[in-house]
Amino acid sequence: MAEHQEPILEVSGLVKHYPLTTGILFKKQVGAVKAVDGVDFTLNRGETLGIVGESGCGKSTVAKMLVNLERPTAGEIRFKGEDISKLSGKALKSVRRNIQMVFQDPYTSLNPRMTVGDIIGEPYDIHPEVAPKGDRRRKVQDLLDVVGLNPEYINRYPHQFSGGQRQRIGIARGLALRPEVIVADEPVSALDVSVQAQVINLMAGLQDEFELSYLFIAHDLSIVRHISDRVGVMYLGRIVEIGKDAEIYDHPTHPYTQALLSAVPVPDPEAREHRERIILAGDVPSPTNIPSGCRFRTRCWKAQERCELEVPALAVPAEFRHVTGPAAHDSACHFAEEKQVVPSEEPQEPQDPEGKSNGPG
């Protein structure tokens, strides 16, 4: 998509630790929840970067830091070259205008006592320079129209809308200030299948129309593949593998990515028999007590002594450093090896063009 590859958001060494303390008067730090523990990535203009991972891997904390709802413990977030994590006051306010968020739960992220017009128009109260007072109502109606809602609904309340419609309202609010980056944290996971597709299509359309860059966070790997140009896989506060969508989905080299992909149910009963599934043992370790070396080693079937001692760096693994091709992408594993776990798209049987089905009729 983005041929010119101009980075709009660069994240490096991002860390968020929540301290654990004991004592009431004299607080003593006894540990930390290492929610995000060194994350680097770049989001290019006009592209969608998908972040996948299981609950507790820190993906939502990354999102919150990007929109400045949380302050990073360490690391940099550069928006067009400027580190925004240390800004405050006016400078921060103007940067925040350009990075907006769409939240997961359309039921709790909209104030039930405000009308839709007030909800979508509220960003203009904070940034009045974007829309002069008299102009706001019209702007809000335009936004409603853009996200596929009837502009006459401007005076309705959130409870009068369905889940999918509410998510459209959330998106309209995110668009109000004409941001360049939208951080979407699980924007469709609360929605029904048929409505999910509507919202995803809407987001894809808006990206073209407004030249948006998306950071799309989700746990559903199929949806992330559908919408993303590049995908990063997170585990326990770190990105373990990152690359173009085909590199990650068709040529994963990190064992966690392989396990994750193989566990996703594919809606095709024919695939049931000839699909290898890697079922991981146990649960994700606690982020207060992260394993030494490679943090995935406690669940990894390939783990050896080296994994306990040495933290694998997120880089192109040595095996693939001198080859070109989809397997040569960043993967934080000492024993990276390519393994195809998603059934390939090559048709296994000749595809009949007009349903030659087995039913009578």
């Binding site: 597709a197 299509n201 919408i227 989905y249 994750l260 566990a263 087995n358």
Partner: protein, 324 residues
């Protein structure tokens, strides 16, 4: 047939009117078979399950018609006392959210053991031993020590295993699992589904799996019943339905999910919204959203047509749909 639901009707009386949640559902499940009931929120899939289990909130709910035959007897004609003997012992349910279905102030051992104390009249000590056995059965490491722990001390996947253990405790003939893995992460989801399928085979239980996830269905089900606005719109063996759906709603659902193995351009989206259950459209309930709808769909409720011996579709134009 282990369980047969015939023409079940359930409605809810609310302040704003009567919501018709279930409008003539027919389905059945055999011993050892897995039936997946697929539907979006509000399709009536959970309400049907609650009616089978006898845990429907009455009022505001009301069963206005139909039969639920379990091992030959109509459950709806049983007294509450007799019903209670069936529930737990002969049929059991696994709920979506294990944390809110387990009692937070009782240890998991007490909750598992309670089944044996109440239904089998066991002593507390024997029941505790049984609880440990069950926890071993669902592969909870260190069952002996963990039996004294409370639900919050277990992870989500572990809690769901405890729910499964509780459902299996009395070796029922039928298990109803309502979105058993929806709240879990994919890697854990795979562990739990595998365990459930294995235990089902071992005990030769009938399993009704209620879900909205077409992927999970393809992985484990033998048959699928697709629900829309309180009716079964299509029912078929799992392979047939994915190959060629015979109802436009099923087709729409299959087309609207993004695939892991494909990178599509634009997703097909079923237009509009599911109907308001207080005001279901006349004729076929799906007609306002259906790309194939004709005049007859707006006036005549489609019956369940026989597509083949073991396959039904509630669409006037199932032939056209089947042929794409």
């Amino acid at each position: 047939m282990l369980l047969e639901v015939r023409d079940l009707h359930v409605e809810f009386r609310t302040r704003d009117g009567v919501a018709k949640a279930v409008n003539g559902v027919d389905y059945g499940v055999d011993a050892g078979e897995t039936l997946a009931v697929l539907g979006e929120s509000g399709s009536g899939k959970s309400v049907t399950a609650q009616a089978i289990m006898g845990i429907l909130d009455i009022p505001p709910g009301r069963i206005t018609g139909g039969e639920i035959l379990f091992q030959g007897k109509d459950l709806l004609k049983l007294k509450e006392e007799e019903r209670r003997k069936v529930r737990g012992a002969e049929m059991a349910m696994i709920f979506q959210d294990a944390l809110s279905s387990l009692n937070p102030v009782l240890s998991v051992g007490d909750q598992l053991g309670e089944m044996f104390v109440v239904h089998r009249g066991m002593s507390k000590k024997d029941a505790r031993a049984k609880a440990v056995e069950l926890m071993d059965r669902v592969r909870i490491p260190g069952a002996k020590e963990r039996v004294k722990q409370y639900p919050h001390q277990f992870s989500g996947g572990m809690r769901q295993r405890i729910m499964i253990a509780m459902a299996l405790a009395l070796e029922p003939a039928l298990i109803i699992a309502d979105e058993p893995t929806t709240a879990l992460d994919v890697t854990v989801q795979a562990q739990v589904m595998d365990l459930l399928a294995e235990l089902q085979r071992e005990y030769n239980m009938g399993l009704i799996l209620i879900t909205h996830d077409l992927g999970v269905v393809a992985d484990v089900a033998d048959r699928i019943a697709v629900m829309y606005a309180g009716r079964i719109v299509e029912s078929a063996p799992v392979h047939d339905i994915y190959k060629a759906p015979a109802h436009p709603y099923t087709r729409g659902l299959l087309d609207s999910i993004p695939r892991l193995d494909q990178k599509g351009q634009e997703l097909y989206a079923i237009k509009g919204l599911p109907p308001n259950l207080m005001n279901i459209p006349p004729g076929c309930a799906f007609n306002p959203r259906c790309p194939m709808a004709q005049d007859v769909c707006r006036t005549d409720v489609p019956p369940l047509y026989d597509v083949s011996e073991d396959r039904d579709s509630a669409c006037h134009f199932w032939r056209e749909c089947l042929n794409g």
